[in-house]
Every structure is written in structure tokens, then in C-alpha cells.
Amino acid sequence: MSTPTELSESAAPGSRAGSNKPVRPAKPGRVKRLSGRDKVVLGIMVGIPTLVQLAFVWIPTLLSILLSFTRWNGLALSDIRAAGLANYNYVFNDSPAFWPAVQHNILWLLFLAVIATPLGLLLAVLLDQQIRGSKIYQSIFFVPVMLSLALVGIIWQLFYQKDNGLLNFLLGTAGTPQAVDWFGDSNINIWAALVAATWRHAGYVMILYLAGLKGVDATLKEAASLDGANATQTFFRIVFPAMAPINIVIVVITIIESLRAFDVVWVINKGTNGLELISALVITYLIGEGQSIGIGSAFAVILLVISLVPITIYLSRTFRKEKF
């Protein structure tokens, strides 16, 4: 602790330039009371982040909720008219895309949880062994996470294109009537999109788990092997539980990723024809010339409510733990 005693003894005069307050020797063990300036400083330190948070998170959220009960064309503020629940009625009853979108988001979550996340874990475990070129593999698997939307689109276009794409070429069906229509067939394109999403998600999970594995105390593994545990047992009984904090982060990330899944389907066909997702619907109705802000806000509020469920569970778990 930086006690004032230490200060008064050893501080060089020049190092405290700007402080004109005489150094008060405080009694050891007592908490120093905050000076007026400290209060101002603290106020600013707390105030600025709070203001930023208010301006960019809470006020927009509240406005979205309010706007979801109005009709507005996005032009003059005087054009805002109350609409009651009409926008929600539209979302639930009229919009043919909403229920498919919910199903696709759930499918997305399941796919990421069952396939993509375990795949990331597997990659992490493999790369954590001292194999040669581990760093290179790590970079390769992590690259998709950093690529821009446009690039992702082009890459998967090259794979999935019906007549000239790599996949159909490998299947030997390119240019024939049997060629699989990876983007156009509404029964298939969601899986094509999920594979592309996995490609990004696995790299993300891999990096987090690699960090987690490095953090696991090596003596734990040693002790386990001394007790005669084999590699599988060591991993599932010792290492995996020891990574509990990372596991929770991964669960939250997987849920968040599946809720905000957007980029891949947007690149393919803007979220229509079998690729409906709630986040794509929000964008469709909020951005651009086709905007109808009330309906878009209603979609956004529904997405918010869905997101609140896992966030609440996560937060309540974290805070409960800290009590003990």
C-alpha cells in the first residue's frame, strides 16, 4: 500500500510538481478522508463513463423501446405517431419472416454449441501440445475472426457458387443439373451459412481456450498423472473443470454470437429465402431506404428481451458466487 509515511520520507520535491497541498502525516491504519479535489476527480472518473454509457447504451435502448410503440418514417420528429401494439402485431402475425427467424436463431445456437464450440476446444487442445509450427496454425485458425465482412463473402462465394464454385467442382457436379445450389436452395443454405459461421466461431473459441489452457496449473496435471489418470481423464476431470471461468465466458460468447449472427447471411442474400435471422430483420427494417422505424424497433426490442435471459442468468450466477 502506498502509505503517506512512505511519501513524506522519500518523495523528491520535483516529482510532486503541481501539488501545493502540504503533506499531512496520517495516522497509520486510518483511512484517509477524501479531499475536495479527490471528490471532483472521482466524480469525473465515474461521471464520464456513466455519461458515455448513458449516451450510447441506455438512452438509445429506451428510445428504441419507445419507438417500437410508434409509427415513424424517420423524417421529421413531428411525423412520429403513436401506434400502440400495432408494430408487435405486425411482427408476430403479419411478418412471414419472424417465426422462421426465431427457429434459425435457435438452430444457430444449437449448432454453435454442439459443433463449433467443441471444435474450437479441440483445436485449442491440439495446439496446446508442443507441436511444431503451433503458432502458425493458431494464426491460420484465428484469421477468419479478423476478416472483414466483404472478404468473408467473397471467400465463401468461391466455395459455394453453383456452377463455378470449389465445392461443386470437387463433387464433380459443377455445371450439371445435379449441382447443389448451396446459396439458393432454402433447405441447404442455412447449413452452408452455419459452416461459414463455424469457421469464424471456432477460431474465436480456440484463442480463448488456448489462453485458458496456459493458465491451468501444470502441477495439477502432474499430480493427476502420478495418480494414474490417463490423458482423457486428466482432461475431462482435471483440466476442463479448472477452466471454469473460461467456460462461462465461452457459454456467454456462444449465446451472444448466435443471437447477433448476421454477417454471413447478410453477405449471402440479406437474410431472405431460408436465411431469416432476427438481427437481419432488425437491420432490414431500420437501415436504408426501406426503413420503417417502428417495426424495426419492435424487432430490436424482441431481440433485446431474448438476450436479457442469458445475460440475467450469467450475471446472477457471477454475483452469487462472489458472496461466498
Binding site: R16, M45, P49, D94, G184, S186, I295
Partner: protein, 440 residues
């Protein structure tokens, strides 16, 4: 605080200094973080540029960001400046951004003149009072335009708002050599079209090239069947939602279309129009219902010269009178309305001289003013121009005639669903339309 381990070796802790430095950094960081989005928000509209009321200069916002149209508009502004000594400052914005941000743009600090489209997409903003009427300009250049052009340039209040630059027709494009080989003849009735399709199919061709991954190309087929079946006025009333979607006339359109579905490319939902153009270039398909921009895809001159065009066959009414020919041109923002220089610029765009300057650089479109130079037209362009000139009414394409939200958010998924399995729910279309048009 374990940070004690990090303190300097000589044992001096300087909390005052550390705290202040930290604060400074934090403060600057927070201001910076707060500033960035604000600045970003400012860029929503293009820079206002030179003062608006002076008539010796004007600002011109252009969404024509592709190389050729960009150079073409530059030729127009240069010609205008050379003629009138009025300086034009052009702000080019990528066309998707330009279209998506038009509402914020017009409410912010728009340029005096800007590029836009005819149809509902123009009338809507005119109705909201965001545009300046240009009746005085039309008094000067009105004689250069056909009645159909004039109709398309009129706002909801009957005043003139739009000055057309060029347009391009939608219709069936095909390779002459394929048709000559097989002895196909241009169909003028819907039955003849169906017979031709059946024949092409038995010859191993995809009769009608069709692509709809992007969603909008199918609107062309819908518009044409609708106009040939129910007439031009019905198309206008339906897109303006003065007519209900939930009626027999609309379901008839889809029923008629169903007869063509087996002849359209079954892979449509995975293809862009460029893919379709390649297919037709390779002689895999018989014809392609698209705008004349399809020819941009053929860089090989022999293929380009082999492309021909015929208008959509007649079905039930008005023969082949109506042509779908989206018009691009210029508008004046409300602010620009006070600038005589900007009005002069729009008038210049409405003269053969101004349009020739444009067409010289971008010949893929058709100038709209009478008297524009047609000597450089290819036979295909000439044919397209004649079709438009002879049209009794010109529609602007569904996504320009209808509310954009209706076109993008409702029609695209609905048409894709129809293409997939031939099912359409007109009741649902109507309830969606009601909600969306009510919000405007």
C-alpha cells in the same frame, strides 16, 4: 495493491503524479471516444460546400460512383461550367450509401442538386417538402421531353420536380444466332411466348433465364405481367397502395406467372443477374427478361453484337403500350431551390447538349431529351430507344414506384417464396402493406 512490486527500484512512489497522468489520459480518451461517434454522425450528409445562395457556384451530390457514370457526370459539369461560368463542386458518394442515407442527407445539409430516380421514390420526398419544385426549368426544357417523361417527373402536388437524364428499358434480351439457328420467332402474345418456351425446352435450352438471389430482378416479371393483365394505371395504384393486394386481379398475376415458372431457370434463387447473363452468353438459355444493362456484362464484341431485344408480349389489355423504363436524373434540394445556378444546371441537364455530354462517356443508357445525338447508337440501343419513345406509359420498376419498405422487406421475400414453390399469400401481402404504408 500488488502494484507495489512494480514501483521503481529506488523506492519512490509518486501517486500524485501517476494519478494525474492517468486522469489526463483517461480524460483525453473519454473525450476522444465521445467525439468519434459525433464526428461520424456528421458525415451522414455530404459536406455542404460553397454557399448556397450565390449563383456563381453550386454543389452537386452524385450517387453515380461507378467509374463510367462518374466520369460521365464530370463531363456534364465541365460542359456546364464552360458554358455558364458557374462553378460546380461535385460530391460523389458510393451509390448504396447515397440511397440508404437519402433521408438523413435531405434533412441535413444536402447539396443544391443531386442525382436521383423518378417515381414514388422522388414523389415521396417531394411530398415531404424536402425538394424544390422546378417548374421554371421545365418551362425552358419541357419541349425536349415526351408526355410520358413529363408524367414521370411530376410530384404529388402537380408541380415539376425532376429533370430526366437517361433511362433504360426492361424487356426480353436474346442471342440472335441462337434464334436464327433454331428458327425461333419473336412472340407478340403470351400464348406464343408459352409455345416458344415449350419448344426451347424440348431443344434442351433453359427457355427463360431467370435470377433472383438479390431479390429485385423478379419484380420485372411481376410488373410486366401485372401491367399486361391489369393495365398501367393498376400498376401505379397498386404500388401506391390505392388498390388492395388482396384481390383477384393480383392473384391472377401470380396464376398467369405460374404458367411460366417451369420455363424459368430453376436455379434462380442462387444466381445474380450477372450469372444469368453469362448463361445466356454461353447459349445455355433462350432469353432473359432484364434491363438493357445486361449488355454491360458482354465485353466480347461478337456476343454484344449478337444481342437483340423484344418487348414483353401482350396478355389481356393495352397491348404492349406500357414499358418498364426506370429514369435516372436530377433533383433540386429545398436549399438548392434558392440557388439560380443550380436551376440553370438542371436546365442544362434537360437539353440535348447536356445529355450528349453525358452519353458520350456512358453510352450504355439512352438519353431522354429529344434531339440528343443518336448517331453513335448501336442497332440494339436504337431499338431500345424506339421502344421507349413509342411507349404510351412508362413505369419505373416496382422498387421505384412502390414504397421502398414494401419493395425490399415484403416483395423480395414474397417473390422468392413464389419462385420456390409457386405459393403466394395475397392476404398477408395486403396486411403487411397496410402496416408499412400506414407508417409513412
Amino acid at each position: 495493491m500488488s502494484s507495489n512490486e512494480d514501483r521503481p527500484a529506488h523506492g519512490i512512489l509518486r501517486p500524485g503524479f501517476d494519478r494525474r497522468t492517468l486522469l489526463k489520459t483517461l480524460g483525453v480518451g473519454a473525450v476522444g471516444a465521445a467525439g468519434i461517434p459525433l464526428l461520424a454522425a456528421c458525415t451522414g450528409g455530404a459536406a455542404p460546400g460553397a454557399s448556397a445562395s450565390a449563383s456563381t457556384s453550386l454543389t452537386f451530390g452524385s450517387g453515380s460512383s461507378d467509374d463510367v457514370p462518374k466520369a460521365a457526370y464530370k463531363a456534364v459539369t465541365d460542359a456546364f461550367t464552360a458554358k455558364s461560368k458557374i462553378k460546380v463542386t461535385t460530391n460523389v458518394v458510393p451509390h448504396n450509401d447515397f440511397q440508404n442515407k437519402i433521408a438523413t442527407y435531405l434533412q441535413g445539409s444536402p447539396d443544391d442538386a443531386f442525382t436521383w430516380f423518378a417515381g414514388y421514390r422522388m414523389q415521396y420526398y417531394a411530398g415531404k417538402g424536402l425538394l424544390a419544385p422546378v417548374d421554371d426549368v421545365w418551362e425552358k426544357v419541357g419541349a425536349n421531353y415526351s408526355d410520358a417523361m413529363k408524367k414521370a417527373s411530376t410530384g404529388p402536388d402537380g408541380k415539376m420536380y425532376f429533370v430526366p437524364n437517361y433511362n433504360y428499358p426492361w424487356g426480353f434480351f436474346y442471342r440472335k444466332s441462337v434464334w436464327a439457328d433454331k428458327g425461333y420467332e419473336v412472340p407478340t402474345t403470351f400464348d406464343a411466348l408459352k409455345t416458344l418456351c415449350a419448344k426451347m425446352k424440348s431443344d434442351g435450352l433453359i427457355p427463360i433465364e431467370f435470377t433472383d438471389k438479390d431479390g429485385w430482378p423478379a419484380m420485372g416479371t411481376f410488373d410486366y405481367i401485372n401491367m399486361r393483365l391489369n393495365g398501367y394505371q393498376f400498376h401505379m395504384d397498386l404500388t401506391a397502395h390505392k388498390e388492395s393486394w388482396d384481390q383477384k386481379k393480383v392473384s391472377d398475376v401470380f396464376d398467369t406467372w405460374k404458367a411460366l415458372l417451369p420455363y424459368q431457370n430453376p436455379g434462380a434463387l442462387g444466381m445474380t443477374w450477372q450469372d444469368g447473363a453469362i448463361n445466356m452468353g454461353k447459349k445455355k438459355s433462350g432469353m432473359f427478361l432484364l434491363g438493357s444493362f445486361v449488355t454491360q456484362q458482354y465485353t466480347d464484341k461478337t456476343i454484344l453484337d449478337d444481342i437483340d431485344f423484344f418487348p414483353f408480349p401482350e396478355i389481356a389489355m393495352e397491348g404492349q403500350d406500357a414499358v418498364e423504363a426506370p429514369i435516372d436524373g436530377l433533383l433540386l434540394s429545398k436549399k438548392g431551390g434558392n440557388n439560380q445556378g443550380a436551376r440553370d444546371f438542371l436546365a442544362f441537364m434537360g437539353t440535348p447538349e447536356g445529355q450528349d455530354a453525358y452519353a458520350k462517356v456512358d453510352p450504355s443508357n439512352i438519353a431522354t431529351a429529344k434531339g440528343a445525338d443518336t448517331s453513335a447508337f448501336s442497332p440494339l440501343t436504337k431499338k431500345c430507344a424506339e421502344t421507349i419513345a413509342n411507349a404510351k406509359s412508362i413505369s419505373q420498376f416496382f422498387d421505384r414506384d412502390a414504397l421502398p419498405a414494401m419493395a425490399t422487406n415484403v416483395m423480395i421475400p414474397a417473390l422468392q417464396g413464389f419462385i420456390k414453390d409457386g405459393s403466394i399469400d395475397v392476404k398477408n401481402l395486403e396486411s403487411q402493406a397496410k402496416a408499412l404504408y400506414a407508417a409513412q
